[in-house]
């Protein structure tokens, strides 16, 4: 797993915000499209692509895409 493909998959969960605008440092809750539904989509994407069970609390305590990536990484190695 690498951060570039992760950011790409993360960006795909948004329909309005252009994918190119996402980087590891993106504060993903600070755009108009972020909602409980995008949160569920990110959790489902991580489950589907990485077989990792991210929780609502994991998402709540994260600010950047990289924060989420690091949680997924730690759960993959666990």
């Amino acid at each position: 797993m690498n951060i570039e493909t992760f950011v790409q998959a993360f960006a795909e969960q948004f329909d309005e915000v252009p994918a190119v605008s996402f980087t590891p440092k993106t504060l993903f809750k600070e755009n108009d499209e972020w909602s409980s539904m995008t949160a569920l989509s990110v959790i489902a994407m991580v489950d589907e692509n990485y077989g990792v069970r991210l929780t609502g609390d994991d998402v709540r305590k994260s600010s950047t895409v990289e924060d989420i990536y690091n949680i997924v990484l730690s759960k993959t190695n666990a």
């Binding site: 409980s36 539904m37 569920l40 959790i43 489902a44 589907e48 929780t55 609502g56 609390d57 709540r60």
Partner: protein, 248 residues
């Protein structure tokens, strides 16, 4: 006065009795005098429920209700029943875009096929006595409301309520009644397993309930009514218990 809610001299099967709502239904129906037959997959947790049932002719049966042979074995080992409570169920939160055949199948197997097939097998084997009461544990989801991420679960519960209406009609000549309880959110292991929502989201959701989230006894008490002769004129109905959530 004879207690209209007494369950004395009734043999009642409760599925999903190792945890949460089903466990409380087993405990409450035993307290109302029933001989309770409990089933689930986890031996330790099921044993634990059995221990809490107190004196009486209570028995437990290990079975995975999604496996045909285990359903057959369960059906064969049960006595004739005066009550059947179908509480075994699972939940999986996924936005509809992520739903796929495998995930949908898993939920439908446990929440829809297994209770329906168990009821069907019990009927074929003539294990349901005249005046038997069948109670599905359904949900407000799929029947009274929709919640984002809950499409598969909603489908499984909506299917129960739809099918129940016809089963109730067909079994009425035998005086077998078929109803469901449709609860709103109740704090059980199911909620703990729904990890897709943060604690903060759950606390905010509870604020939408005029009477707060429910307790397992709230559901068990509704089930006692539907199992007892008190409800002998009630069939084909959905008993909505949701702390006022859906009146808003």
């Amino acid at each position: 006065m004879i207690n209209p809610f007494s369950l004395a001299n009734k043999n009642i099967l409760v599925t999903g009795a190792s945890s949460g709502i089903g466990k409380q239904i087993a405990i409450s129906t035993a307290a109302m005098g029933a001989s309770v037959h409990i089933t689930a997959r986890d031996t330790n947790r099921l044993d634990n429920t059995l221990k809490q049932l107190g004196d009486g002719h209570h028995r437990h049966y290990l079975a995975d209700l999604t496996i045909g042979e285990e359903l057959d074995a369960l059906t064969d080992s049960l006595p004739n029943l005066d009550g059947l409570v179908l509480s075994a169920g699972i939940v999986k939160t996924l936005p509809f875009k992520f739903v796929n055949h495998t995930e949908l199948d898993t939920i439908m197997q446990t929440n829809f096929f297994s209770p329906i097939v168990l009821l069907n097998k019990l009927l074929r084997k003539k294990k349901l006595n005249k005046n038997c009461s069948v109670v599905f544990i359904s949900s407000i989801g799929g029947n009274f409301i929709g919640a984002k991420g809950n499409s598969m679960y909603s489908a499984s519960k909506g299917a129960i309520n739809a099918m129940q209406k016809v089963i109730a009609l067909e079994l009425a000549p035998q005086k077998i009644r078929v109803n469901n309880v449709s609860p709103g959110m109740v704090r059980t292991a199911m909620l703990e397993n729904t990890t897709a929502f943060s604690q903060e989201q759950i606390e905010n959701d509870e604020k939408n309930y005029p009477l707060g989230y429910g307790e397992v006894t709230d559901v068990a008490n509704a089930v006692i009514y539907l199992l007892a002769d008190a409800s002998k004129w009630v069939t084909g109905t959905s008993l909505l218990i949701d702390g006022g959530f859906t009146i808003q």
